[in-house]
Symmetry: C2
Subunit: 201 residues, 2 copies
């Protein structure tokens, strides 16, 4: 039995949707990049918390903010870049969420941040370019960039971000317990495999 699923995913692979469906099937919480960013931002994480050295904690009702602030480790220092500060705060947040509640976490190097825990299932979701190109055009429409270039650009950003904060190669199987080609395996079967492994490993 696992408590947490972390999902790394290529843009357009449907990893976000598979994460959400898996969380729903298991009846556990779901956190994605946008939610974590919003929580950090709304709680004043990236600026106010840092300026006020944690005292801002008393001015918010956010559970997430409070548990992140109350964690003693990795308090962001003034020497860090804004991007690093946000990363450190989100890392604390992810660690505390993992401690507090069973959940699925998509993105944000969560596999790396939670690598010491033995109750996590670490997953990477990917797909062929064709599949992903079709999917992003269906979902997000056309833009000035070609679908292929949008994918390459986004993948590159994720690879650089992951490398910067973990020192590891994004999407290298050894970072994960399993990697699924969502186009080949299909959304439904991916969800089945993940829920099944979560319950039984």
């Amino acid at each position: 039995m696992k408590r947490i699923i972390t999902i790394g995913r290529e843009f357009g692979s449907g990893g976000h949707e598979i994460g959400k469906l898996t969380a729903e099937a298991l009846g556990i919480a779901f956190y994605d990049k946008e939610l974590l960013a919003a929580v950090a931002k709304e709680s004043g994480f990236s600026e106010r918390y840092i300026e006020e050295g944690g005292e801002y904690a008393t001015a918010t009702n956010s559970l997430l903010f409070n548990i992140a602030v109350s964690s003693g480790y990795n308090t962001p220092g003034k020497g860090l870049t804004p991007s690093d500060q946000v990363y450190v705060l989100q890392s604390n947040l992810i660690r505390d969420l993992a401690e507090e509640t069973p959940c699925v976490i998509v993105g944000r190097c969560a596999d790396y941040i939670l690598r010491e825990r033995t109750d996590c299932l670490h997953v990477f979701l990917y797909a062929d370019m064709d599949y992903r190109e079709r999917r992003i055009v269906e979902r997000y429409g056309q833009t000035k960039m070609t679908p292929e270039n949008r994918l390459k650009d986004k993948d590159k950003r994720r690879r650089v971000f992951y490398r910067h904060y973990t020192g590891r190669d994004w999407g290298s199987p050894h970072n994960y317990d399993l990697c699924l080609n969502t186009g080949a395996v299909g959304t439904e079967r991916c969800v089945e495999i993940l829920t099944d492994l979560y319950r039984t490993l």
Copy 2:
């Protein structure tokens, strides 16, 4: 429903065993590197077939040899290195086996050789160094080389072999439909996932 499973695997990951158990569970044939090499050698593939331009086919009873010889494509030329000749012949053999009979094929770049077929499940099996070190010492005993160096050496050979003949990166998820960490997922669950996907995809 798939017809073929190809398995790429890191040394010590248990990929060979998982392939064999999966073939048994599905009641289909199993071919590994050693068997394919033996068939090629016994049939005189690497030397006699090439020297006699295929006429040797009439002098053998080997079904495998006959189907490989009868395939018109990729006839090895005299300009190839012995290693390349064996690769070409084994590629023909793998293509014809795939055409003839449902099977599990371990190693030999089978994922690449059969990449145009839509009835294959392509799998990569890997594991952490610790798990693999323990496993090779249990299975094959100690040698003068440390377990870690034996793994690195073997992985390197497979990577170079795969790169040479396919132009692709060995163990990169995009070559496969799924990648399983055998140490984390466990032999039994790996076999279940593979048999299940084989039957239902």
